[in-house]
């Protein structure tokens, strides 16, 4: 599977979180978009299911911004 475009992954994140695409930019901290733990889990599961990748706790611990998450998806796909 080739790596998805960063724009595609960001659009998917916006869709999963139910927020406008304009709020999902690489420099935005994930904590600003996902206030609670459960939506974060849901988003992580959905992205892994969509792109057929696996995240570990260490992977997600290293993620702080939308850009970090997008690069994690792209590097595993």
């Amino acid at each position: 599977m080739s790596a998805p475009a960063a724009e595609e992954v960001m659009a998917r994140i916006a869709e999963v979180l139910g927020i406008p695409d304009s709020r999902v930019r690489p420099e935005v901290p994930l904590a600003d978009l996902v206030g609670e733990s459960y939506p974060l889990v849901e988003m992580a599961i959905e992205l892994q299911d969509d792109y057929d990748v696996i995240f570990t706790q260490a992977d997600l611990s290293a993620v702080s911004t939308v850009g970090d998450l997008v690069e994690l998806v792209r590097s595993r796909a």
């Binding site: 999963v16 733990s37 459960y38 939506p39 974060l40 889990v41 849901e42 992580a44 599961i45 959905e46 892994q48 299911d49 969509d50 696996i54 995240f55 570990t56 706790q57 992977d59 997600l60």
Partner: protein
């Protein structure tokens, strides 16, 4: 006559835990693409919702409507074990949790003079809980090629340790309310 405060709180706590489980599995069921796991997770979600209804009905029949509680057992898991971040970790924490639930309900059934309404409710729930353990265990076995057998075993161990920690903490925090359950265990040993 309404239930004693301790029993009223414990049954309401069971209800809240079933609601939280249902909401969690419902969100996951919504997030997954069609697959055997999506299928079983959706049934699991529906079961947990039904269990919350059983407790609501039971409490009302006993003349004590459910207490609104803000926290549930599952919330403390995340603090103790960290967020489950992939499907294997979610199923691993679910397996550990379901075994705890079965153990807790069995302990409640052992309380001398358990009310018939409570026994009936737990018996109905336990039939589903056995299936929950079975499907999750089978799904984890099916994930061994993808995640690695050792990784799954290590993850289960991590969550078992967190479960023991959370259960001990819950008993300590709510010692007075859970006293009637603890005493029944001492009496039976």
């Amino acid at each position: 006559m309404p239930l004693p405060d301790d029993e009223h709180w414990v049954l309401s706590y069971y209800r809240m835990s079933e609601i939280n489980g249902s909401l969690f599995f419902g969100r996951l069921a919504r997030a997954l693409k069609p697959s055997p796991i999506q299928h079983d997770l959706t049934r699991h979600f529906a079961d947990e919702a039904q269990h919350a209804w059983y407790w609501t009905d039971c409490l009302e029949r006993l003349g004590s409507p459910p207490i609104k509680l803000s926290d549930a057992y599952q919330d403390q898991y995340l603090e103790a074990a960290g967020l489950p971040v992939n499907m294997m970790e979610i199923l691993a924490i679910t397996l550990v949790f379901e075994r705890r639930v079965i153990n807790q309900y069995a302990r409640h059934l052992a309380v001398p003079g358990v009310r018939p309404e409570v026994k009936e409710t737990i018996d109905r729930i336990m039939a589903d809980e056995r299936w929950h353990v079975q499907w999750v265990r089978d799904a984890l076995t099916g994930m061994e090629d993808r995640y690695g057998k050792d990784t799954i075993a290590e993850t289960l161990q991590r969550f078992k340790e967190a479960d023991r920690e959370v259960y001990a903490k819950t008993l300590a925090e709510h010692e007075e309310r859970l006293g009637f359950l603890l005493r029944s265990k001492e009496e039976s040993t």
